[in-house]
């Protein structure tokens, strides 16, 4: 009887140990792969390392879009702070001056070097509510 109990105890402990290690590894992988989200006014208040991928969301400042061949640069603002963005590639169809944008990228000398530019409201399958009664 005792031998069986001991065996059971060992099995339970083994299961606990493996699942604990597993969970620890998963959560560690999670923690080292998070993308933090900032607004332009928050971004310079924090110390963000160069190799940390971040997301910045705000409005594209009117008149700030400059294009040079396939490069595009613009300023994102939340009307309290702003940050310059550089991107090489095609911006989404919904990208417009004065409309919302989310940029995924790395910080280099106070400029955000974009890996990806997402126009806001891409996330919405529904149209901006159209007043169909008119």
């Amino acid at each position: 009887m005792k031998a069986i109990r001991k065996q059971r105890l060992i099995t339970v402990l083994l299961i606990l140990a493996t699942s604990a290690t597993g969970s620890f590894l998963i959560i560690r992988a999670l923690d080292s792969n998070l993308d933090f989200f900032f607004t332009p006014s928050e971004i310079f208040k924090e110390e963000i390392p160069n190799n940390k991928r971040i997301k910045v969301g705000g409005m594209v400042l009117e008149g700030s879009v400059l294009r040079d061949k396939t490069n595009i640069s613009f300023v994102i603002t939340d009307y309290q702070g702003s940050i310059n963005v550089e991107f090489d590639g095609i911006v989404p169809d919904l990208f417009k001056e004065g409309s919302g944008v989310v940029v995924l990228g790395y910080l280099r000398d106070k400029t955000l070097v974009a890996e990806d530019v997402l126009a806001k409201h891409d996330e919405n399958y529904m149209p901006p509510s159209i007043d169909i009664k008119n």
Partner: protein
């Protein structure tokens, strides 16, 4: 008038489904009279509900804009095909379709199962009460029959342009078919627990149903991935978006479930796993509906936010899961098997497989929910992207595949001789190592994960080739469905690894009649044309592409502006060949008249969907053969 009729029919069927549930659980369900009665009420209720849907389809086809939902999502100028598919282009209508599929699975089950089957009445009862839950959700919080009276608008607001695509008309139905198909397995599991007779072999009865739903789910996910690839213009096949993840979780659980089923339908081993998985699959399917429809998570796919809907769904799903788990814990002793799992038997490999799948589900769930938890605790917005999922999925899948390799020759309830385990290893290892060496020197792939994936992917395929060889030469028994599905897995791993490693893209700046060179391909912008479409204007750009062998072909990417919403969309142009896709999208026009063009070489991408199709085919064939051999 038609609207009110459709609305009334839906309400009527809700009531009938409820009666069906009451009869099956509170009357003597072994009485053949009761079973016949329940079966009949279910059929009638289903046909009433189905006719409500058909009336609704007719309302959409006939442009009845006094229905608010149709006015918001359809348009006179749409082709009939899209008028119909506009029904499932947003929340209310897609929920309608979801319940149609839910009840249809039940109806097919009802027709194809004889009434002397012990679990039938209660299974129909579970399906009925689930349908009632969703029908109440539909009618109370998201009523598709709401009207605009007395003056309906003259024209509708149109379906979202990116959804005006034949593939998107069939992707959601396939996905929903898969999700809700597991209601049969779930219903039988609950009925089995309720009955409390361990000798009833419910696992055998649900195998073909579950395999069929699994196939639909796989197909639905693959179609969605293919649509995202060519329609959204980003060029990828998977983005680890929360909504993709909530479709992936039931798929992972369902895959573990169908494996587990094959074990527990043969002996009483793994019954607990199978039962828990049947509950898990269905709850994860419902959880997906909650995530997509509550708006608690920002995603490419989420429907408009509505906390009331989210709360209802959460409460309903919570109740369903709680009742099932309570029932499960009450009947736990029934399921205990005194047989031990023999080491290195097929069952032991399937249990391991369950653990791997469980880990993947847990990690995905964590990735989906972590941003919510984090924001709640630290008040800081975060998102979890591809790097996390890659860090988890790649190693676990590869390790699981190594076990898959050794499980191929294993037998039910018998330990396998360790020596025989390693017999075919030299041959398969030689072949797959050759492939890896070739990849290393010929294509200069140096990433260790890619090489490992190539090795493991090809070793599985080669091992199965040996199995097929033995089948043809020595007539050794082979489960051909398993061979097809797992070769699909091997191919999937290889394709994803190659695609990830070798694909490339570049943005180009080009004027009419100019030529740019990218990777030995000459790209010339020949012409720009304005072409009017049925409900949009489009600019088409004709590109002439010459590959290094001197072969030329034309690609015509497009930009569309839709009348009804003024929305601009990009249509990609793809030249597909055996190994790679050349993928072209046009961006904006600059002030000097030149255009920005994005060119991508997507290596091996087609094989990703092809491998999914292999799995679908294997699943459907096995489901078919099982349903024919059923007593």
């Amino acid at each position: 008038m038609l609207i009110e009729i459709a609305h009334f029919l839906s309400i009527l069927s809700t009531g009938l489904f409820f009666i069906c549930f009451i009869f099956s659980f509170f009357l003597n369900s072994k009485d053949i009279f009761i079973i016949n009665l329940v079966s009949r009420i279910y059929s009638h209720s289903f046909f009433i509900f189905l006719s409500s849907f058909f009336v609704y389809v007719w309302l959409a086809i006939s442009d009845n804009f006094s229905v608010l939902y149709i006015a918001q999502h359809s348009n006179i100028n749409l082709p009939v095909f899209y008028k119909i598919s506009s029904i499932w282009s947003a929340h209310e209508g897609s929920m309608f379709l979801w319940i149609i599929f839910l009840t249809s699975w039940g109806a097919v089950y009802n027709l194809s199962t004889s009434n002397d089957q012990l679990l039938k009445a209660r299974t129909l009862g579970v399906i009925s009460i689930t349908s009632v839950g969703f029908l109440l959700f539909l009618l109370l919080t998201s009523n598709p029959f709401e009207t605009i009276l007395p003056v309906p608008p003259e024209n509708g607001a149109d379906i979202n342009p990116v959804l005006q695509d034949p593939l998107l008309a069939i992707h959601p139905p396939m996905l929903y078919m898969g999700y809700v198909g597991f209601v049969i397995a779930f219903g039988q599991a609950i009925a089995f627990l309720f009955e409390g007779k361990p000798e009833i072999k419910w696992e055998k009865q649900v195998r073909s149903w579950s395999l069929a739903s699994w196939s639909f789910l796989t197909l639905g996910i693959a179609l969605g991935s293919w649509w995202a690839y060519y329609e959204l213009g980003w060029g990828g096949y998977w983005f680890w978006d929360p909504v993709e993840n909530v479709a992936l979780m039931p798929w992972l659980a369902a895959t573990a479930f169908v494996h587990s089923l094959s074990a527990s339908s043969k002996s009483s081993i793994l019954r607990i796993w199978t039962l828990l998985l049947s509950i898990l699959v269905f709850s994860l399917s419902l959880f997906g509906a909650f995530i997509v429809r509550s708006g608690i998570i920002d995603s490419v796919h989420s429907f408009a936010n509505d906390p009331e809907r989210g709360l209802y769904l959460l409460a309903f799903i919570g109740l369903l899961v709680m009742v099932s788990l309570l029932l499960f814990s009450f009947r736990f002793n029934l399921l205990l098997s005194n047989k031990k799992i023999a080491s290195l038997s097929k069952e032991s490999f399937i249990s391991l497989n369950n653990i791997f799948f469980g880990t993947l589900i847990f990690s995905t769930m964590l990735g989906v929910l972590y941003p919510l938890i984090y924001e709640f605790i630290y008040n800081q917005k975060i998102s979890v992207g591809a790097p996390f999922y890659n860090a988890i999925f790649v190693p676990i899948t590869l390790i699981a595949c190594i076990f898959l390799y050794f499980s191929i020759d294993s037998k039910w309830q018998q330990s396998l001789n360790i020596k025989s385990l390693f017999q075919p290893l030299p041959i398969s290892l030689t072949f797959s190592a050759t492939i890896v060496i070739l990849a290393f020197f010929q294509f200069s792939i140096t990433n260790l994960w890619t090489l490992a994936s190539l090795l493991i992917g090809s070793i599985i395929i080669i091992r199965y080739m040996i199995v097929i060889y033995f089948y043809f030469v020595y007539r050794k028994f082979t489960n051909i469905f398993s061979v097809i599905a797992h070769c699909g897995l091997g191919l999937l791993i290889i394709s994803i690894a190659l695609n990830d490693n070798l694909s490339s893209e570049r943005a180009l700046n080009i004027k009419i009649n100019e030529t740019e060179i990218y990777k030995d391909h000459q790209i010339t912008l020949k012409n720009l044309r304005m072409v009017p479409g049925p409900n949009f204007d489009s600019v088409k750009a004709d590109f002439l592409i010459e590959n290094p062998n001197g072969k030329t072909f034309t690609l015509t990417p497009e930009k569309r502006k839709y009348f009804a919403r003024g929305q601009v969309t990009t249509e990609t142009a793809i030249h597909a060949s055996f190994l790679k896709d050349i993928y072209l999208t046009i961006g904006d026009q600059l002030d000097d008249g030149s255009w920005i063009v994005n060119i991508q070489f997507n290596i091996f991408i087609r094989w990703i969907w092809f491998s999914a199709i292999m799995m679908v085919v294997a699943g459907l064939l096995l489901a078919h053969s099982l349903s024919r051999s059923r007593p």
